[in-house]
Symmetry: C2
Subunit: 393 residues, 2 copies
């Protein structure tokens, strides 16, 4: 008999609870796991010994995990020091924990790795496995990680819907701000909004490229003359050629510097410099919390990754993160893989060059092909009568 | 044999196309309507004679109207002068139009009324009927109007989702900016996000009440101490006691004054004055364009209202707008009514006193009861383990 522990770290996604569901369901299939402790509130909760045994939760409540945004067990951004890891090892020993799972992004994989080292120092045998989660898709080695596909679906559907709105009342330039400060994956996914009849985003600005304000204004002006309404999707993390954010710092509290919103900044530029009406939308947290736009592929992969982590730990794996690898072939298919945690700790993956269009304001077809299957069912089909031949009498 | 005309005005909603669907389907059932012209781009398109005969559109494309955001036939905010109305009457005569439908908010009902007067001046017999649409719910006399319920569902679901996110990682105050500059109906609907276990919005600020910054900061501070994460929903149109917007004008182009975003302004206040982390989300146009959060009740009522307008015009009604009236009884049920257009022209309905909580930052139970049935199916159920008794060893 042995116990297991699961800890969530960092910002939640639309499917972090689906991975939790996958892990719990797998644990339930293994009677050798007596208690499956969830840290209620991230890594700090481990130090405070704040646990809930997930095996005591009724099945009908576990089922709700698949459609619950946020993290049902709570998560944190608690900074962890060496002493904290040693304390964590003590708690792990006290609770008879033989299997431990850290769900999170790069930072959580770092926590997982360091917790593992602390357990080794304490002479404990604990199989530690990382469960990736990210809305930004900035985790290395794995093809993608749970959470991204739902964020991608959200921005694609939302951009498609807003594009219909703007096309039907083409009086302004609409800037949609997308999350992902350094990695442009989510911003890029807005390209999937295009159905091929001129809708969807007209311009896409990724944080991987320096932002050229003059070129932006020229492109907006040209498109406004052509189409009336223009839809722009811009990353919240856009930077100038000198690497500084395109938005000025608006104030400072202690060491933290606060910047204005990129979307609102770009809309103001369009109004002031071009005299064209503009507005901005910033779905923000809605983009990682929306369940209606959750991708079914993402949800299933999240469950798979959670379950695979439990299987791997029980099979004796250690210091690894579960990743996803595409299987070669015409149909989209993934299989899981185990990646040594040191390969992913703190490393931030940005968009590769072959996914960024050389025109500087778009993605390539290769990106669209790579991204499309992740969204699950095709995005909704819309109809417009604005581009039909008119009836003449 | 006679022809009909339909014109969209103002900002679209998630169901303006559903009303169009209802109108076309009803027209198809009446062979005396030979052509059903849609103005392709609002009232200006009537003057330019830019029409599409909707009776030539294949049925499978009409079906897509029910799930297409924006306006499939286009809409406008074209300002109309007396000469324009006279020109409109000429076009109506030229195209043999016997029935005309204007879909829109207060402004469009004004257009409808004035177009009617112009037709009378020109000696034409045209039955004109208004089809209401609004995301802000600011149209008078009718219990509510198509478009609002989907906007209400959007903000309720989105606030519920963001609340799960904030509860799971309670490190900041999150301000959600809701649309509706003078009428707080959409902002108020965020209250429907509450499931009764402490989730949902903590504070709701309606534009009907003067905003008290000091009280706001005190309430946020108290809630932050209690809960860590705080969710605030604020109308984009908040004003101070002197009736001026709480956000300063940031710049002026010609006669137009541009203000910053209310959400971002309030988040900055929290950071600067309380030293508490804060962020803002502004779904903006997504809140009126989202199809995934479209209310099924709204969609059905929109179809009903569109169909009723056509029936009314064919029955000889004139100068009326179709409204919705609740039928007394335990179950939610509406019936249509016809309202003289002069009763609704340009009049803006705001939230009545009995729907605004005396504490100044909430709605009443009466509002929640009034609003709940409009959302259609109950909003999603979520699970959290953060409020359970911990497992102790």
């Amino acid at each position: 008999m042995a116990n297991a522990l699961i800890v969530h770290g960092g910002g939640p996604t639309a499917v972090i609870n689906a991975s939790l569901y996958g892990a719990v369901m797998e644990a339930k299939a293994h009677p050798e796991i007596e208690h499956f402790y969830a840290a209620i509130g991230g890594s700090g909760a481990v130090l405070r010994e704040e646990f809930l045994d997930l095996l005591t939760v009724p099945q009908e409540e576990l089922e709700l995990l698949k459609q619950t945004p946020g993290s049902a067990i709570g998560t944190s951004r608690d900074p962890m020091e060496k002493d904290d890891y040693d304390r964590m090892a003590q708690v792990i020993a006290k609770y008879g924990i033989r299997y431990a799972f850290f769900t999170g992004g790069n930072g959580s994989m770092d926590t997982c790795g360091k917790a593992y080292e602390a357990c080794v120092r304490a002479g404990l045998t604990v199989n530690m496995v990382g469960i990736p989660k990210t809305m930004d898709n900035d985790i290395s080695v794995t093809d993608h990680a749970p959470g991204f596909a739902s964020a991608a679906r959200y921005i694609a559907e939302t951009t498609a819907e807003i594009s219909q709105d703007v096309r039907s009342l083409p009086i302004h330039v609409c800037i949609i701000e997308a999350m992902g400060r350094n990695a442009g994956w989510t911003t890029a996914a807005s390209a999937l909004a295009r159905s091929g009849d001129g809708d969807g985003p007209d311009l896409i600005y990724l944080p991987e490229l320096p932002f050229d304000e003059e070129q932006f204004l020229r492109d907006v002006k040209r498109l406004h003359e052509e189409k009336g309404g223009v839809v722009v999707v811009a990353s919240e993390g856009l930077k100038n050629a000198d690497g500084k954010p395109i938005v000025d710092p608006i104030f400072q509290v202690g060491r933290a510097v606060y910047y204005g919103d990129v979307g609102s900044h770009l809309a103001n530029l369009v109004i002031r410099k071009l005299g064209i009406k503009a507005r901005s939308e910033k779905p923000g947290l809605a983009g990682r919390a929306s369940v209606a736009y959750q991708s079914s592929v993402d949800r299933e992969e999240a469950i798979l990754v959670g379950a695979t982590a439990v299987k791997a730990a029980l099979a004796g794996e250690n210091g690894v993160m579960v990743g996803l690898k595409r299987v070669e072939g015409k149909e989209y298919k993934v299989e899981t893989m185990l990646i040594p945690i040191e390969q992913v700790m703190l490393e931030e993956r940005t968009m590769p060059k072959e996914f960024i269009h050389p025109n500087g304001h778009d993605v390539t077809d290769a990106f669209v092909e790579w991204c499309r299957p992740l969204l699950g069912e095709p995005i909704r089909k819309y109809v417009t009568f604005k581009n039909r031949p008119l009836t003449k009498i």
